[in-house]
């Protein structure tokens, strides 16, 4: 009942003119979205220069009204350092006149943290992301519970994976909270870190999701609530480009966590014994989302989708879960589910980028790139920092072979997401496709600097090496990638990696390791059965080894699936002709021309009826005698012929 509050607050102000009451009045105006009125109320009384909270509220109002320059001016009035007490206890606070500036019994550090966070927001709004990131970090230093600052840092990929870890380590956890809480906090924050830069195993999921004890999280949240934000993890959409000789790995980057992460996971599991609270927290939706993400980046899409569906059943609009869920549906090509989800989202939250992102993704998977672009562009308008939308925007160009435009979109994404290697990877990919191999290598190198353990980058580098005819290097890169993948998958590796195995097969073939090549191709076939490209690759290897018959068989198979594959049909023609040259006429045929072994009787004789017509008596009588003696044999030989 903000209206009521406004009315009575106004009356109170008329009575007292107390700054505290004015603050409350302004707050009511803020809630009623009367930002300029609130700003005027406070500025006309110069409150923003004297009272911290008033200053804070003014900035918030200006930010909400999108007056960024003004906001920055106001926020700079207060130099927070000034107010920063040497000792962090609240009672022992600075000069007396500032004491009343904090009206309520709010802990000081929270207030400072909020102000820093707000400053960060303003700076970010002005596209000054580096300074903004500093502000967020400071906010976290003031108050480790300031989740929003942490989230802003991670969500928009401002930091690289190693920077994120550093940040987490530098947090003054032990000073600000108890040992137990510190553990929990670290664990929670860790679950938020990047997961795709390196592969790692998925911790076992709790089978049933219980409502979490969210107490701690809530206490961690600041009281201030800026505009609702959709949380967006970077979700990578695949782009389906295949190049000629070697099927280019298109897939988005997966993956997961570093060794450090692994260690922390172990730590976590051992913690659970001592810390029942943490155990319970594990079933909080946020933690499950983290698990789903890890599954996603491990390419276990089906499992991931199962998990996200459970989450969305409990909380249909769980903002953290939605992007990962959408990406999963893209991978699984569930256009129907995505259609429904997009519709619901747009109906309920037309102002959220994620809603339009979902719409764009729907059009993307049904192959209507034009529409996809339109809606993805809308998503990026609503939230310029929404990385996934930019990437998907790039993909929509990429599948239509519009390399330049795709690259432009990826560049934009890479500017926005400094700490994310995906845009760089995609740019490299596009460069490779446009035959700009040198440039591609450079981009891959940059990507690798950010995420050294990502098998996708290794794979792409291998492909470039292959194109450069550096087969040794290609093999090394592919194998390294394969090792990294195998480390986290005990059983079969996901289907996504079919092209890696297949490329490894191609490379081994080039290196003349034919047996090994066959081995890899067959492994690839296990991951992706009935694949014409693999069939014809296997056929090719066989024809090189000289197993012509098997080659024919495999090429036949390949053509059975894809009838107008020119490579296979040319090869088949060639191989089949070769076959007729080099193989014996039939299995077990003699080398020499066989001698015809005549059966017993070798002479033709005249029969009796002919004899009568015959004019040469002598011959006839001869033939008669001959005939009698051979009659039996004749019937025998005929029998043997007819058997």
């Amino acid at each position: 009942m903000h209206e009521t509050a406004l009315y009575w607050a106004d009356k109170v102000v008329a009575l007292t003119e107390n700054p505290r009451d004015i603050y409350w009045l302004a707050q009511c105006m803020y809630h009623l979205k009367q930002y300029h009125r609130a700003v005027h109320l406070m500025r006309s009384r110069n409150l923003e220069k004297t009272f911290i909270l008033c200053n804070y509220l003014t900035v918030r109002c200006l930010l909400a009204a999108n007056e960024l320059n003004e906001a920055l001016l106001v926020v700079n009035i207060l130099d927070v350092e000034l107010f920063m007490p040497q000792s962090s206890t609240i009672s022992n606070c600075i000069n007396g006149n500032l004491d009343p500036l904090i009206f309520d019994d709010k802990p000081k550090n929270q207030v400072y943290a909020s102000i820093m966070f707000l400053k960060g927001k303003v700076l970010e709004g002005m596209d000054n992301r580096i300074l903004a990131a500093d502000c967020y970090k400071q906010a976290l230093q003031y108050d480790v519970y300031c989740f929003e600052a942490f989230d802003s840092l991670t969500r928009y990929q401002m930091l690289t994976a190693s920077e994120e870890e550093e940040l987490l380590k530098s947090l003054p956890l032990t000073e600000q909270c108890s040992l137990e809480e510190a553990e929990i906090l670290r664990c929670l924050y860790e679950s938020k870190l990047k997961k795709y830069h390196a592969p790692a195993a998925v911790p076992p999921c709790p089978s049933k999701i219980v409502y979490a004890d969210n107490r701690l999280l809530q206490s961690g949240h600041l009281v201030l609530n800026i505009t609702p934000h959709c949380i967006s993890k970077l979700t990578s959409t695949p782009n389906f480009i295949s190049s000629t000789s070697i099927s280019t790995p298109n897939q988005p980057v997966t993956e997961v966590e570093s060794k450090k992460k692994l260690k922390s996971m172990d730590m976590e599991s051992s913690d659970t014994i001592e810390n029942p609270c943490l155990e319970k927290l594990k079933s909080s939706l946020d933690m499950i989302v983290a698990k789903a993400e890890r599954l996603y980046y491990n390419c276990d899409f089906q499992q991931c989708s199962n998990l996200t569906e459970v989450i969305l059943k409990q909380d249909p609009w769980h903002t953290g879960c939605l992007p990962i869920h959408i990406s999963c549906q893209i991978e699984l090509k569930e256009s129907n589910k995505l259609f429904l989800l997009a519709h619901n989202l747009v109906d309920l939250y037309p102002n959220l980028a994620i809603s339009w992102y979902a719409v764009g993704c729907y059009y993307y998977i049904i192959g209507k790139s034009d529409y996809a672009r339109r809606y993805l562009a809308k998503a990026t308008c609503l939230d310029r920092l929404f990385g996934p939308a930019w990437l998907a925007y790039g993909h929509s160009f990429a599948i239509e072979n519009e390399h330049d435009q795709a690259m432009a979109a990826y560049f934009k994404a890479s500017q926005l997401m400094k700490g994310c290697h995906l845009p760089l990877l995609y740019i490299g990919l596009e460069c490779g496709l446009t035959n700009n191999i040198k440039l591609a290598e450079k981009f891959f190198q940059q990507a690798q600097n950010i995420a050294p353990d990502d098998p996708f980058i290794l794979h792409e580098k291998g492909v470039i090496n292959f194109q450069n005819l550096e087969y040794k290097n290609a093999e090394r890169n592919f194998k390294e990638a394969l090792e990294k993948i195998k480390k986290i998958h005990s059983g079969p590796i996901p289907q996504r990696w079919m092209s890696l195995l297949n490329n490894l097969g191609h490379t081994c073939r080039k290196l003349k390791k034919y047996e090994e090549a066959l081995e890899y191709h067959h492994q690839a076939l296990l991951l992706s059965p009935q694949n014409a490209a693999i069939y014809s690759a296997i056929g090719f290897v066989h024809s090189l080894i000289g197993n012509t018959e098997e080659a024919v068989e495999w090429f036949h198979k390949a053509l059975g699936l894809e009838r107008d594959d020119t490579f296979s049909s040319t090869m088949l023609n060639y191989v089949i002709e070769q076959l007729s040259e080099e193989r014996p006429a039939y299995p077990g045929a003699p080398d020499e021309i066989p001698k015809y072994v005549p059966r017993e009787r070798t002479r033709m004789t005249l029969t009796f009826s002919e004899m009568e017509e015959s004019s040469v008596d002598k011959d006839i009588s001869m033939s008669i005698s001959a005939r009698d003696s051979t009659k039996v044999e004749e019937s025998q030989s005929n029998m043997s012929l007819s058997i």
Binding site: Q302, K333, S490, G491, P492, Q495, L525, L526, S528, P529, Q530, A532, V552, K557, G560, L561, N573, I576, E577, L579, S580, R583, P584, A585, Y586, P587, G588, A589, P590, I593, P594, K595, Y596, V597, P598, R599, R601, T602, R603, M604, T605, L606, T607, E610, S614, V616, D619, M622, S623, E634, S637, N638, L641, S642, I643
Partner: protein, 563 residues
């Protein structure tokens, strides 16, 4: 073999399979059990049928849905079960649902389900694979895993899965059956030593066209107490059919139909037999009977298709084969037969398609390979047709039709030596159609192997001469051969033989003139020889110097006349 313990095994197997909805295995085992009805078991041996298990509620619910073919519903309710039985039902119902949807979505049976759109099957396979690697699959699930792998063309893995499944559940007939269709050689697998293995070996031998072995095993099984099994009888009939013992096979089928008049299994083979023997009335009778039993069975459709084909109503025949394939796109013989019909209708492309599908389903269908060879021969792509004929020949090494076709193709490719070898082989395995010998002779002639050529021609002439009564209209080949021989002997100076052949040439109008000319030359030579004999010592039979190319008979004749 101890029939009592076998019967116990069978009863247990029937129970287990029916619990899991593997109805074909149940049927097979029950038939076998029926054939053992003379063996009686005392009561305590009959296995308990009801037992209490975990997750029984879910299982019973799912099973009831499964039985009325609501597969998706069935799968939904056993989704999270962990005990093997409902778990199997979960996978199996999903598989059946996928297959059913595929059939339903198939608009035209000429294009079977697109194998590139196998995504749901691949997903199911992935789920199974996951459990497989964790060793969570029991025998039945392993069997299902094998079936799906086979569907995805991963043959070696699927064999592996089947073998593993059998080590757990040796009574799973469907598994033996699938394995028999997949393996290509005899003893490479380590299979459990179970009495079921005998049935498997017989089946596998039949599949690999090692018919005599199969018949032997069937015989021994029959003598061991299974003599009433209609299954074994049908196997025997199939063996005879493959051996081209057509009458025996037909009699066997008649016997089966007497015992079990409503049995439709394998009747398509029976109709093939009747077709080959051109027993029109019997085929018509069979067609009417099977229609009255079940109109929409693949076997029925094939029988009718054959019937129409025999009446040369090829379009209608194709219609019925199509219907069969609509009912079951994996039904091999319908594909092959449809290919034959298309050949009759000169629709080469459709024929190729049909044959190819047949080969995709079973690599060992020599008729389809042969048909493919024929189609490509018509298309004048001889290299291809050579390859296909070769495949067919490999499968039926002693069938002269294949090898003659191979020889013809070599001839077309101008590979005379290879062609010659083929014809030679055809003669040695028994030339049913009687084409090989004359061709062989001609090729010998072409390669200047006149000795061999003459020998072959002689044999040919002798045979033709004996068959004179049933001689066909076209005798030019015969008389050309005679002429060749006459020349040959003349060149060798064997005047008597030359005379005999030349004399025979007179019978035909075309060669009459040349025959007369030859006779004249012979007479002249005789005169010379007589003179020589008088003048010198008789050196009979020394061949004249001009024993040379006789490939062109007229040419050699001219040489002779010029002398």
């Amino acid at each position: 073999m101890d029939l009592r313990s076998i019967k116990k095994d069978i009863l247990r197997g029937i129970h287990d399979c029916s619990q899991r909805g593997l109805y074909h295995s149940v049927k097979w085992l029950s038939e076998l059990n029926f054939s053992l009805s003379h063996v009686k078991l005392s009561h305590q041996f009959i296995p308990e049928s009801e037992e209490f298990e975990d997750e029984q509620e879910e299982y019973l619910l799912a099973k009831s849905y499964f039985d009325i073919k609501e597969y998706d519903r069935c799968a939904y309710f056993v989704k999270s079960c962990t005990t093997p039985k409902p778990r199997f039902l979960y996978f199996y119902s999903q598989y059946l649902s996928i297959e059913k949807k595929k059939l339903d979505n198939m608009t035209d049976s000429n294009c079977p389900p697109d194998s590139s759109k196998n995504n749901s099957l691949k997903n199911l396979c992935e789920q199974l694979q996951h459990d497989f690697y964790q060793n969570k699959l029991d025998g039945y699930a392993l069997y299902l895993y094998g079936v799906i792998l086979k569907r995805l063309d991963l043959i070696s893995s699927s064999i592996e899965a089947f073998v593993k499944a059998l080590s757990f559940e040796p009574m799973l007939w469907c598994c033996w059956f699938e394995l028999g269709k997949l393996v290509s050689d005899k003893n490479s697998l380590s299979l459990p030593d179970h009495w079921m293995k005998q049935f498997y070996i017989a089946h596998a031998c039949l599949e690999q066209l090692r018919n005599d072995e199969a018949l032997e095993i069937c015989q021994s099984l029959c003598s061991q107490g299974f003599e009433n099994s209609t299954y074994l009888m049908s196997q025997v009939a199939l063996g005879h059919h493959n051996n081209r013992d057509l009458d025996k096979a037909i009699n066997m089928f008649k016997k089966i139909l007497e015992l079990d008049p409503y049995r439709l299994d394998n009747l398509d083979t029976y109709s093939n037999l009747l077709y080959v023997q051109e027993m029109k009335t019997q085929l018509a009778d069979l067609a009417h009977k099977v229609v009255s039993i079940d109109k929409y069975r693949v076997e029925t459709c094939c029988v009718i298709g054959n019937y129409y084909s025999l009446r040369s109503d090829h379009a209608k025949a194709v219609l019925y084969f199509r219907r069969a394939l609509k009912l079951n796109p994996q039904f091999l013989s319908a594909w092959t037969l449809m290919g034959h019909e298309f050949m009759e209708m000169k629709n080469i492309n459709a024929a190729i398609q049909s044959y190819r599908h047949a080969i995709e389903i079973n690599h060992r269908d020599y008729r389809a390979w042969y048909g493919l060879g024929q189609t490509y021969e018509i298309l004048k792509m001889y290299f291809y047709s050579l390859y296909y004929y070769k495949q067919a020949q490999q499968l039926k090494p002693n069938d002269s039709r294949m090898i003659i076709a191979l020889g013809e193709t070599y001839e077309k490719l101008d590979k005379i030596e290879n062609a010659l070898k083929c014809y030679y082989k055809a003669c040695s395995v028994g030339d049913v159609e009687g084409l090989a010998l004359i061709r062989l002779a001609k090729l010998y002639d072409k390669l200047n192997e006149s000795e061999n050529a003459a020998a072959a021609f002689t044999e040919y002439c002798l045979r033709e001469d004996d068959n004179k009564e049933k001689m066909y209209d076209d005798q030019t080949e015969f008389f050309n051969a005679l002429q060749y021989l006459a020349n040959y002997h003349l060149n060798k100076g064997q005047l008597d033989d030359a005379y005999t052949y030349a004399y025979k040439c007179l019978e035909c109008n075309e060669t009459k003139e040349q025959g007369k000319a030859l006779l004249r030359v012979i007479a002249a030579k005789r005169g010379e020889q007589d003179n020589e004999v008088k003048m010198e010592d008789p050196t009979e039979n020394t061949s004249p110097p001009e024993e040379t190319n006789t490939s062109d008979m007229n040419f050699s004749l001219m040489i002779l006349e010029n002398q």
